[in-house]
Symmetry: C2
Amino acid sequence: MNKTFVQTIFARRSIRKYTDEAVSQENIQTLLEAAMAAPSASNRKPWQFVVVTKRETLDLLAEQHPHGKMLADATLGIAVCGDLTEMERYWVQDCSAATENLLLAATALGLGAVWLGVYPRDERIAVVRDILALPEHITPLNVIAIGHPAEEKEPRTQYDEARVHWERW
Amino acid sequence: MNKTFVQTIFARRSIRKYTDEAVSQENIQTLLEAAMAAPSASNRKPWQFVVVTKRETLDLLAEQHPHGKMLADATLGIAVCGDLTEMERYWVQDCSAATENLLLAATALGLGAVWLGVYPRDERIAVVRDILALPEHITPLNVIAIGHPAEEKEPRTQYDEARVHWERW
């Protein structure tokens, strides 16, 4: 392993502007492989992914998600969803770890992405469920807007020593 | 960016055996900086970290967490906790993303780590709260056992095309 890989973690920023260049099928595949390399409780892998590249569907999501405007520019959207029949207790944690892997892989591939929260807001869940035709046992955790970046942000950490406690609180 | 960072994502495995070499202060700092580079809803950063290196505390956690045996060998434990006064709706997602960053940074640094689930199991929350003296508004999401690895695992993804849906469910 290489210590400089940690730099990718700092380079991951929320990117909300994209060019109109499509994300390649090879890159989509890598994003999904990275997401499904995340750990999950008892290795139950309660995740499901809906990959959206159709302009019409991305525009619908952009209109109906209250903070989803950038989906109208994104060439790719991926909804990370939980299968609650697979794992009810830890699905949010498992799907969040998978999402973070996906965002970091996007950064490593030179793509830009932003995490749009859906769960636990009922009205957002209903909208995404409707647009993506999700069955009742599948709950959308988020929609990730992805594209080739048309904005740059500096790498950073938001490290704050006030949030670190040594040996006990 | 470096496409090979994606390899770090595949190289991250749950490592449960460690040597007795301590994790350096510099590496602990990097792990925390990586964790606090995660995205969070409305950038509220509802995370708090308790860093444990004392043998006695690690042994107590090992005894009292039902799957925590490996903490008796780990030279470092980090409890990732949520501050529910900061963000009630999304704290689990935000703290899970921070945890995944921490695990990936550990991999990049040549360390081994494993995520031990705590929240939402009340009995585990009570045990960790008690040992680490957490106040009522702080909820432990997990305890991460960390050390220099004494076992090797192959990189992998658990990619499964049955979990990928194109354009809609």
